[in-house]
Symmetry: C2
Subunit: 239 residues, 2 copies
């Protein structure tokens, strides 16, 4: 990954009305693009650095919560509410931040892919495998954001919220593969999905395409009443 540290961090522009905090809220915003994850970047304001990019960012205003601010950043940058959002952590440690914030709180969020990607002008989506030149602190956040997303996929219905209300099992599997960055075994995927009782079949079938039609499913998690989930065995996943 290439890197870029802005020479003198710009002083935050003074604003008028509501009290603005001294820390920034930065969002690693992902969307599915093809078979890969794409991350949203905004062009650096500095005209000397037209090939330098940043993550969307702002400050909290008034007594707004951290997550509210992060949702606002997502809406401002993409026009959409996040399908899922979660805090990654606080970043400081001498890694330069473009807006000069002493400390930044990073969030990771996802939105479904949309035709209106606002990719014109100052916003652009980059493949996570080939990110653009970013400030040091944003590089760290991107890496942590991918990791946080992938560890959360098993515990939050992120893939389901990225799909339309009806989807085929192949579409669901492709979404999981895209989020996790690796291929999954078809039979195992469907076995585990059936055991988890998370989806139910609809009466509709996909009409298009040239293979066998696929049945549509919808996300309909069964609240497993009483059935205690078995505790997992210890793993020794050091090194």
């Amino acid at each position: 990954m290439r890197d870029w540290d802005p020479a003198p961090p710009a002083t935050p522009s003074p604003r008028a009305s509501p009290r603005r905090s001294s820390h920034s809220i930065d969002v690693v915003l992902f969307t599915p693009r093809g078979r890969q994850l794409a991350v949203l970047c905004v062009r650096a304001a500095d005209p000397r650095a037209r090939e330098h990019w940043q993550l969307p960012s702002d400050r909290t205003e008034g007594d707004e919560s951290l997550e509210s601010a992060a949702r606002r950043v997502v809406r401002a940058a993409s026009g959409l509410d996040p399908a899922w959002i979660e805090q990654v952590g606080a970043f400081a440690d001498g890694l330069a931040h473009p807006a000069g914030a002493e400390l930044s709180v990073a969030f990771v969020a996802v939105i479904p892919s949309s035709a209106d990607e606002r990719a014109a002008g100052e916003h652009a989506w980059f493949s996570v495998s080939e990110p653009p030149l970013l400030p040091a602190r944003h590089r760290a956040m991107l890496e942590a954001g991918v990791g946080a997303l992938r560890t959360r996929v098993d515990y939050a219905p992120i893939a389901f919220h990225l799909l339309p209300p009806q989807f085929t099992l192949s579409e669901l599997q492709r979404m999981y593969e895209l989020l996790l960055g690796r291929r999954l075994h078809k039979a195992s995927f469907r076995r585990a999905l059936a055991a988890a009782r998370l989806v139910e079949a609809t009466e509709e079938w996909r009409s298009e395409g040239r293979g066998r039609p696929a049945q549509f499913y919808r996300f309909a998690p069964r609240t497993r009443s009483g059935a205690r989930r078995a505790a997992r065995a210890v793993r020794f996943d050091l090194l």
Copy 2:
């Protein structure tokens, strides 16, 4: 869990020399005590609230990193370097903080149990299952800290760093059980441990005790050259 919100947050006392940040560094510090985890709390300064407690906390100084500051907080509160430490996240969101910090960065850390627990006076260890009256933000941190510790036990040698250089397998298992807060199956624990090649037997045996003597082991992880770790299957652990 009981709660306590300090009525008017005390204004941070002005200090002289190094630049102090506007955010606090708070540490959820655990130690093994008996078969349970204990968390270190300090007595609230306010004399009206002698039964109110807080988590150890400070501000970063100069250009000190977040983790350096957290390690300093651990040393100041316990006299020991943490055996393991990791950031939990940023907390704000209107939950009152005792030192009036707008934003707090929480860390979770562990130290081995020691005779000198500094438990006299203003410091005390509390069982995690029966924590004292804490400010709202510290209650949230304690809950998140326990969760973060338990999810990290499988991926970092936390248990090993809490034990002396030589330990029996039963001691190791009891440490894992204490950290995870649940019982483990003995045969499965040893099978998985042997497969992970993390420990090696010494020639020494425990002399005390009234049962069969146990062999001592030491932490000696074999760097698994080449042996690619199998990717885990997807879990559908929602709800």
